[in-house]
């Protein structure tokens, strides 16, 4: 039964990872950019939330301020950095976002120091429902999961029904032709970036409520988000939820085996999925293993 509890916790944790991965998935889907600063953006949002709360705002109020601020930050990021990077080839976006990540981490450290913090939400952090003697679901994880599902659903609806969402899909598939039928690709990218960074901030908020954090937790969050996106299938929003759950469950089950195995388990599952999927595809595409390795002429 203890395993069932771990799986349940893993599924709920997956909700957080899905939330975190949404922005990464969106930017990749629309702009083909992997934003290496994504995790650190989540942490920036988190620090902003923490700081606002520290200044006296209630957590919900701070959230209400932080999210639009992050959306604005996304627009700025796109305008100043990503737009130019996009035009310069595949390498440049990776280099600039990585550089940006380093800058953000260290600026946060400079401003907030090395103290470990968390967002104080009182008893909400550990209250929950007892399902059975062995299974206990906390309020926070459930809320996180629900928020993730609602967000993904809303985003899916937005992309399929809303005119801007349609334009976004068109731009993702063929930006040049989209322009030729009247879509302002630049504006579309700004909207995508705003949504991506705002959702990153939201995920950051839940991170801070769930656990402790400091200025340097960004990169690990990026890795988890990336793993969730890849497992779920690049470009699929609901796939991101699935991917998040897989990572979450791998981690919680791994933790049950031995606490130090937790994160490693997640990585190993990711590599296994990657290896299996890629080898399968590559073998099929190239007509066999030997051909794929260039052993046949």
């Amino acid at each position: 039964m203890i395993w069932v509890n771990q799986v349940v916790q893993g599924i709920l944790l997956g909700g957080y990872y899905a939330l975190l991965a949404t922005g990464l998935s969106l930017l990749f889907g629309v702009m083909r950019i992997i934003n290496l600063a994504h995790g650190d953006l989540a942490v920036v949002g988190l620090f902003l939330l923490w700081w606002l709360h520290d200044q006296g705002l209630s957590v919900p109020a701070a959230l209400a301020v932080m999210l639009p601020a992050m959306a604005l930050a996304g627009i700025l990021l796109q305008r100043v950095l990503l737009e130019r990077s996009l035009r310069s080839g595949v390498l440049v976006p990776l280099l600039t976002t990585f550089g940006l990540a380093i800058v953000m981490q260290n600026l946060l450290f400079e401003k907030f120091g090395a103290d470990i913090r968390s967002v104080d939400i009182g008893t909400f952090a550990y209250n929950g429902w007892k399902i059975t003697d062995e299974i206990y679901v906390g309020h926070l994880p459930v809320v996180t999961f629900c928020v993730a599902v609602v967000l993904l659903g809303a985003l899916q609806l937005f992309l399929s029904r809303a005119p801007i969402g349609r334009s976004m899909r068109a731009t993702a598939q063929d930006p040049d032709t989209a322009e030729l039928v009247g879509v302002n690709a630049r504006a579309v990218y700004l909207v995508a970036a705003a949504i991506a960074v705002a959702t990153a901030g939201l995920a950051g908020a839940f991170l801070g409520m769930r656990t402790t954090f400091d200025a340097y937790v960004g990169p690990t969050q990026l890795i988890y988000a990336f793993e969730a996106v890849v497992i779920g299938g690049l470009g699929s929003l609901w796939g991101t939820l699935f991917g998040g759950i897989v990572i979450g469950v791998a981690q919680t089950v791994g933790a049950q085996i031995k606490p130090q195995y937790s994160i490693l388990a997640g990585h190993l599952v990711f590599l296994a999925v990657l290896g299996w999927r890629l080898v399968n595809g590559a073998i099929a595409a190239r007509g066999g293993f030997r051909a794929a390795l260039g052993l046949e002429t």
Binding site: S167, A170, D176
Partner: protein, 238 residues
């Protein structure tokens, strides 16, 4: 309506369009012909804004649109149906149409489906699964949804079966009949001359022949097309 002045366009070091000047009047249909690589596609794309000109001006209704991005030109009324259709593959036919316009102008979904009746049953079909002819119809319909005053069509018949070409041109005639100005790049000389009021022929980036379709003979077009010159009564390569 459209005036192109001394337009130059390059692909890297390749000089694709050389000092081209052109005028298209309201309501005209201009056929742009020429061999592959003559610069027709580049010219059309540059007029539509999908390619940057290196020199020269493009005037639309007297307004200089040379530095406007493509989507702004669409707002002003210049729309291109690109070579190779270029539909959004993962979107349905109807979604492809709706991206271009919500249908609050002269052209809306209803009128589009009336003009291209073959598309009505295909509304919810993914664009990637359509046949060549269906894709071409969708591409033209999509351009129409932007309510263009100047419609640029690049190679409407490329890669299509004869019967599909037939249907495309039937619908095209309805469009032309409606008063839209059209510039048509077409490999099929016969069709080009049949549907248009004026003809221009391009060779190696320049316009080498221009005139009313009724006045120009087929022989003249063929000669210009291949860059032949009459010498002692015989057509010779320049």
């Amino acid at each position: 309506m459209l005036r192109v002045e001394q337009l130059d366009a390059h692909h890297g070091l390749l000089h694709a369009v050389r000092r081209v000047s052109l005028e298209v009047a309201d309501g005209e249909t201009l056929a742009l012909v020429g061999a592959n690589g003559a610069g027709k596609t580049t010219l059309l794309r540059t007029i539509a804004g999908g390619h940057r000109a290196s020199q020269g001006r493009i005037l639309f209704d007297g307004v200089d649109v040379s530095s406007l991005p493509a989507h702004r030109r669409v707002r002003l009324g210049i729309t291109l149906v690109p070579e190779g259709r270029r539909l959004f593959p993962e979107m349905t036919v109807e979604e492809n149409l709706l991206v271009a316009g919500r249908g609050n102008g002269e052209w809306n979904l209803g009128r589009v489906y009336d003009t291209f009746p073959m598309l009505r049953p295909l509304r919810k079909k993914r664009a990637a699964t359509l046949s060549g002819g269906e894709q071409q119809a969708t591409a033209i319909a999509r351009a129409l949804m932007t309510n263009p005053r100047l419609l640029l069509i690049d190679e409407a018949s490329l890669g299509l079966a004869p019967i599909a070409v037939e249907r495309v041109y039937e619908s095209l005639e309805a469009v032309v009949g409606g008063g839209t100005t059209v510039v048509l790049v077409e490999q099929d000389l016969g069709r080009a001359l049949a549907v248009s009021s004026r003809v221009a022929c391009m060779l190696e980036g320049r316009i080498v022949l221009e005139g009313a379709a009724a006045e120009i003979t087929r022989e003249q077009v063929v000669e210009a097309y291949f860059g032949l010159k009459r010498r002692n009564g015989k057509a010779v390569q320049q």
